[in-house]
């Protein structure tokens, strides 16, 4: 595989839901170790775009290539991509009927065929990394939202992904729990993880992102480094969005 090729490539990607066009001609390249923040008003296609990257949504047109594997209808290719891409959801989506440690073990055992004892060791290592090893034996509902989201991050990391996608990871959290989740994400960024984060946390975007992408009505409107993005945005739509979310 070519080392200089971007890890994630989207070329002219379109996505339709019936007649509604959710993504319009999306072009995006992400290199290994890059941290991308995607923002934009609701319904702008941010989530749809990252959900196309691990094929939770099927793109209608264009090409998506992840680490040299192009996403097609082939189950083999989809599986290959999903092995490299971890995802964290807005609503955590922990398996409610499994204990925390089992949540972290199940995919390792089923997908990677990791033996049980080793899967447990890996699970505990990542629970320690997100600082809640003492919750291993509990069920998700017994944890706070912030703790559940940290477990969800650990669950994705157990699969040793190359890329992590975050779909509004803090939007469902009470304000006092947002920082504990962002801290885990900042920690992950420091370790060089390739990340695409859909978020409205502009503080996080400013301090962590290499690039910020602003989307509106299914299009990438503006793409810039944080400094430029916040201090001198080019497009009117970006200016309007920033004025709406930054001026309280």
């Amino acid at each position: 595989m070519n080392d200089t090729a971007p890890l994630i490539q989207l070329h002219n990607v379109d996505k339709f839901f019936g007649d509604f066009q959710a993504l319009k001609n999306i072009d995006l390249e992400v290199r290994k170790g890059e941290r991308i923040v995607v923002c934009g008003p609701s319904g702008s296609g941010k989530s749809t775009m990252i959900r196309c990257i691990n094929r939770l949504e099927e793109h209608t047109d264009g090409r998506i290539i992840i680490d040299g594997t192009e996403l097609t209808d082939k189950i083999k290719d989809i599986d290959a991509v999903r092995r490299e891409v971890g995802m964290v959801f807005q609503s955590f989506n922990l398996f409610p009927h499994m204990t925390i440690v089992k949540n972290l073990m199940i995919a390792q055992q089923l997908v990677r065929k990791t033996p049980k004892t080793e899967a447990r060791e890996v699970a505990m290592r990542y629970l320690e990394r997100v600082k809640i090893p003492e919750q291993a034996g509990k069920y998700p509902i017994q944890l706070s939202g912030g703790q559940q989201q940290r477990v969800a991050i650990a669950r994705a990391l157990c699969m040793q992904p190359e890329i992590m996608l975050f779909d509004e990871p803090t939007s469902a959290l009470d304000p006092e729990m947002i920082n504990e989740v962002l801290d885990v994400m900042i920690d992950l960024a420091k370790d060089g993880m390739t990340m695409i984060v859909v978020t409205h946390e502009m503080g996080f975007a400013r301090s962590v992102a290499d690039r910020i992408i602003f989307m509106d009505e299914g299009e990438i409107v503006e793409e810039a480094e944080p400094q430029t993005f916040f201090d001198s945005p080019v497009h009117e739509r970006t200016k309007l969005f920033l004025s709406q979310i930054l001026n309280h």
Partner: protein, 231 residues
């Protein structure tokens, strides 16, 4: 009207003699019906019209006709056909008990498959997306995520169906089977004391219903342990 308690005391042991048959009808039909229900459910979830369609027609027919009629068709109707008399099922369909079990199983299977489908539909889609994102296959997601959660969701409605099946077993008495109801009817025919006999019989059914209810309550609490905030 006088109420003859000594008659109840005398006839209770006789009616209890039919418990074995009643339980046999209930348990065997419930197990076979559940297996049938799971097959029908998988047909409906297959996404293939040539599996989905027959399952839908089957469910429609068996939910759309009275269970008593179904029992009569199996018992009086099937032996009319030469190929059934020649088939390997004849030893079963020759016996009234076999006919009752076949009819009850076919009937409850249709209802239970819809109950299970409700449970499957109730599973949060986000959990399946999380499974996909972790690389789990369709089968793995069904076995490890959908099935356990759907089971818990379907359980209250399923226990309702088992109780309903218990009452349906009483219809077996119409095709000469000496279950509890069959025996009660014989006693009534001999003693002309319908109140005493039928009321005591009703109480026996209620005791069974109570046992079924309690058992399912325990299973529900066990399966739902993860849904409680306190460990």
């Amino acid at each position: 009207m006088s109420f003859d308690f000594s008659l109840i005391i005398d006839s209770l042991p006789k009616m209890l003699g039919g418990i074995g048959i009643t339980l046999q009808l209930l348990v065997v039909s419930a197990v076979l019906g559940l297996i049938l229900a799971i097959i029908l459910l998988l047909m409906r979830l297959s996404g293939k019209w040539w599996l989905d369609w027959p399952a839908q027609v089957y469910i429609y027919v068996f939910r759309g006709t009275p269970i008593l009629v179904q029992i009569f068709i199996v018992y009086y109707g099937f032996p009319q056909f030469e190929f059934i008399r020649d088939s390997i099922f004849w030893p079963i369909l020759r016996e009234p008990t076999g006919c009752a079990i076949v009819a009850l199983s076919l009937n409850t299977g249709a209802y239970v498959s819809e109950i299970l489908r409700g449970g499957v539909k109730g599973v949060n889609k986000g959990l399946l997306e999380a499974g996909s994102a972790l690389g789990m296959s369709t089968h793995q997601k069904f076995i490890y995520i959908t099935a356990p959660i759907a089971t818990r969701l379907a359980l209250p409605a399923y226990s309702n169906d088992v109780i309903s099946l218990l009452k349906s077993t009483a219809l077996a008495s119409t095709i000469t089977i000496a279950d509890m109801t069959g025996i009660a009817r014989t006693i009534v025919a001999e003693t002309y004391a319908p109140y005493e006999i039928f009321i005591s019989m009703a109480i026996i059914y209620m005791v069974f219903t109570w046992i079924i209810q309690k058992t399912f309550g325990r299973i529900e609490r066990y399966l739902g342990r993860y849904a409680e905030r306190e460990a």
